[in-house]
């Protein structure tokens, strides 16, 4: 009897309530301490704009803004986001009201398969918020943590340049 109870207890995962702000709204979600912020964003909050490319911080597809800074959400434990402000691509713009960067990406052909795009937009948004008139080199550095296999980065850089000039 005692042995059976032990087994049952071991299978119960102890979850903690995580409180953070996502795209301007307060969020409360029960998380397992081993979960990453990426997992919570996608699976618990249903915000699937953010992508999992590699899960270990090598590609940037999971980039979100945390306290205004771009980070790989696969390298943030969910609980480390306690009390923090998180912004995902869904918080950049809506279909009716696109972020100027999103408009620019469409206009200049910067989207092919689209997998890197949310991360690129977040990194670009972080750049333009801090530095509204970046040089080409500064743009390249800002997106150097976002891998893209389709575009060769050319039109992405152009789109960011154009968005900066409009803004």
């Amino acid at each position: 009897m005692k042995a059976a109870r032990k087994v049952i207890m071991a299978k119960v995962q102890v979850k903690t309530i995580l409180k953070m702000t996502v795209n301007g709204k307060p969020v409360e979600v029960a998380v397992d301490p081993t979960w990453t912020l990426l997992r919570v964003i996608r699976e618990e909050l249903g915000l699937t704009g953010t992508k999992e490319g590699c899960g270990i911080g090598d590609c940037g597809a999971c980039t979100v803004l945390m306290e205004g800074k771009p980070v790989n959400s696969c390298l943030v434990l969910a609980l480390q986001a306690e009390g923090k402000e998180v912004r995902t691509v869904e918080g950049l713009g809506t279909e009716e009201n696109l972020d100027p960067l999103q408009e620019s990406f469409i206009k200049y052909g910067a989207v092919q398969c689209g997998f890197c795009t949310p991360g690129m937009l977040i990194s670009a948004r972080a750049l333009l918020d801090k530095n509204p008139h970046p040089t080409t080199e500064e743009i390249k550095v800002a997106i150097s943590g976002n891998l893209c296999r389709c575009t060769g980065y050319v039109k992405i850089i152009q789109a960011i340049q154009q968005a900066a000039q409009q803004g």
Partner: protein, 286 residues
Amino acid sequence: MQSYEYYAPRSLPEALEYLAENTGNCQIIAGGTDLIPALRKEDIHPARLLNILEIVEAGGISETGETVRIGAITTFNDLADSELIRKEFPLLAEMALSVGGPQTRNRGTIGGNIASAAPAADGLPVLLSLDGELELSSRRGNRSLPLNEAITKAWTPAWDDDEMITAIKVNKLPPGTRTKFYKLARRNALARSRMTISLIFRSGSGGEIEELRFVPGSVMPVPRRMEEIEKLLTGQVPTDELLDRAARAVGEEMVKVTGIRWSTGYKKPVLGNLFRIVLRQLITAG
């Protein structure tokens, strides 16, 4: 991955208490850029994770006279953005900007970089060239430990399990000192260092090398200042012949530590080449 107990205290005493109560059974996590992949791959199975990112005492960059204190949880971007660091220790800012990518530079910390004791960690060689000291804290008290004593074996910190790094201390360099950090890698971002050069140089009134500090990185299990090379060049006028001789000696000094490995054929001559190239840049930069 296996679950663990997670604790994120906001004060240093709370953290140290937790560490003391769970010595040897507790993994400190800061930026997590090394740890989280290791947890995912199940290379490590900690029973407890202590998140130190919320501890105010472990952060911040401040100066007291000639000493600059860099909090352990200072991120690489914090280092690169700091006017104080850029002014007093340019090579430290250069190194900070060369690590990983923008996202990892917003999370990876200098304390975590040192604590990893990884042969390819870039923070350690730079801070060794600056004769850095660790500020270690535990429930038993604080102490300072020179960096060259803090890591004596790859992957193995030499401080105690109940201690944590709260800061790194470095002393400002004499006026006229030039510094450079150079990283050779397979691509221009998101790349581990193939080898690095940390160089601190000052020339004297007669054009001779008044001070030289040199730490090669990613070429030995544990980085250290190449004092033999520093001795060879200090007080000398840097002629082409001397620099060539020194470059060859750099490779030989490396092999004395590493022995011949698969990468030696490349690293031995190239490390010397890089040393010579970077030193020449510093000499002519004036």
